[in-house]
């Protein structure tokens, strides 16, 4: 019984153990709280600044969600275009890969010139960083349609749009939902990167100003809040993925 308890809660126990160790090391070796604050000090500053932290977190959250929503929309449209035409695929793919290899932080100064400091560059950065995995996954899902299945449908007189609707899209759903998990975490990265250098709101900005006023525990509190948000959203999309595309996982189990 005790064993199953340990097994079941292993991740939580590990986190607690790490926090304890951290606390002990900081106390034991008298680490300068300015360099590495103790977990308890971080917790205190979380409570102390809960109102501003909450406001900034909300700002970051909505910025990310808007950027992510645009990424999903653009990702689906581009993915459908790429996945349903070999020509478009060949033409666009190298360009997309090239674009994706640019560090998105490099866009922030340009975006500031275009949109000024604030929410817009953060939204755009979140979008830029997160749409690529969605495009690639939707396109792959569509492009790997079995030729025989396509023949069956074409021999029935199905149009391209019908094939896309009846088979292509449902078939690419598992790919799509898997990519959402990746994209949402990337979107948070995009938002925070932009907020750090080009905003006066959001967790990124909060950390920047905490840094300049030497409030190290507050910075750590910011890191924790952002990681909790990203993790929670990841779980939400993992859950949606399971709900929407259970057939894909069960199918794999059955054939494996």
């Amino acid at each position: 019984m005790t064993k199953s308890f340990v097994e079941k809660h292993a991740p939580a126990l590990l986190v607690i153990a790490i926090l304890l160790l951290w606390e002990l090391i900081c106390r034991g070796f008298k680490v300068d709280p300015f360099v590495l604050p103790m977990p308890s000090a971080i917790w205190d500053s979380l409570l102390e600044f809960k109102k501003p932290i909450f406001d900034h977190a909300l700002q970051t959250f909505w910025t990310t969600m808007v950027g992510f929503a645009v990424a999903v929309l653009v990702g689906i449209i581009l993915g459908c275009l790429l996945g349903s035409s070999a020509l478009v695929y060949r033409a666009c793919y190298p360009l997309l890969v090239g674009f994706n290899s640019i560090p998105k932080a490099a866009f922030v100064p340009i975006l500031v010139v275009w949109f000024g400091i604030g929410t817009t560059p953060a939204i755009v950065t979140a979008f830029l960083i997160s749409f690529f995995p969605i495009v690639v996954n939707v396109a792959t899902g569509l492009a790997t349609l079995e030729p025989e299945l396509e023949d069956v449908l074409r021999a029935l007189g199905a149009s391209r749009v019908e094939i896309l609707r009846k088979v292509g899209l449902p078939r690419s759903m598992p790919f799509f939902f898997a990519s959402l998990k990746v994209a949402i975490t990337l979107a948070f990265v995009g938002t925070v990167v932009s907020e750090i250098s080009a905003s006066n709101a959001g967790i990124g900005y909060l950390m920047m100003s905490a840094s300049s006023s030497l409030k190290t525990p507050l910075m750590f509190a910011g890191v924790i809040v952002i990681s909790i948000m990203a993790m929670a959203m990841y779980e939400v999309f993992a859950w949606i993925e399971m709900r929407m595309t259970g057939w894909a996982h069960r199918g794999q189990q059955a054939t494996a």
Binding site: E146, E148, L149, D151, V152, L153, R154, A155, L156, G157, A158, E162, K166, V167, P170, R171, M173, T245, W247, A248, R250, G251, Q253, A254, T255
Partner: protein, 261 residues
């Protein structure tokens, strides 16, 4: 009975300009409701023949007439089944079988109102092939043979005038295969349609078909045409008769001759 349903007149096809011809000078006449089997070595162009028949590929030379009209673009009167069942994993067996009715006119536009009627029709087919009780299961819950049964139902649900089968029983065990031969035989006898069956199995061809065509190895040509005059209805027992073995042997010899040349 003698009216032609499919006419190939000296049909040639190459897949791309630089390649050799995949099939050469193919001339075939298939009657309405005839059951035709095509046998031949791997890569000889059997699947290519099917693609030409259904209009999925235009011929490079020659003309193809199906149902009185020259073929240009995919026909809408065909049902197809392949070696792989190709069912949609997110649909139940019943919904998989219903798929053609969501695509082919006139069923498509009536689909909403007549859904129940269509389901009855699909269920009737599902019962005929021995899948009753499995209609609400998903493909991964079905064995390979059961999936293939469902795939045949899907090919027939819209009552096509032409059924194209590309090695549909190739991946099945001997018992299931013979059982499905009988299913196909009965479906064809009950509600006749024209069938083109591609197969590697000479016994299968002899048992099911009215006419067997033998194709040569690449580039594919029709090298022999054999009418199977065994009386219908044929029972599985017939496959052990002398007349049956003789026909199989004869077909075998044509294939053997191709090998040597």
């Amino acid at each position: 009975m003698s009216n032609k349903f499919i006419e190939f007149d000296r049909v040639w096809l190459k897949y791309n300009p630089t390649a050799d011809f995949a099939i050469e000078e193919v001339t075939v006449d298939i009657r309405e409701h005839e059951f035709v089997a095509i046998v031949g070595p791997s890569g000889c162009g059997k699947s290519t023949f099917m693609k030409l028949c259904t209009g999925l590929r235009p011929p490079s030379k020659g003309t193809i007439i199906v149902d009185g009209r020259q073929v240009a673009g995919p026909l809408k009167i065909t049902g197809m089944a392949f070696q792989a069942p190709n069912l949609l994993p997110w649909r139940t067996t019943l919904d998989n079988v219903l798929l053609p009715l969501e695509i082919v006119e006139p069923y498509k536009s009536q689909y909403r109102e007549k859904r129940e009627q269509f389901e009855d029709r699909a269920m009737k087919l599902i019962r005929t092939v021995g899948l009753a009780g499995w209609e609400n299961k998903f493909p991964w819950e079905l064995s390979g043979g059961m999936q293939q049964r469902a795939s045949i139902c899907r090919a027939l649900v819209h009552e096509p005038k032409l059924l194209m089968l590309d090695e549909p029983f190739g991946a099945l065990d001997a018992f299931t295969r013979e059982e499905l031969w009988c299913v196909l035989r009965d479906l064809h006898a009950e509600n006749p349609f024209t069938v083109v069956l591609v197969t590697h199995d000479l016994r299968e061809a002899t048992f099911l078909a009215d006419t067997v065509y033998v194709m040569s190895k690449r580039p594919g040509r029709i090298v022999a045409r054999r009418e199977i005059d065994l009386p219908r209805p044929r029972d599985i027992e017939v496959t052990y008769s002398e007349a049956f073995s003789k026909i199989v042997h004869e077909l075998r010899e044509h294939i053997g001759a191709i090998r040597k040349s």
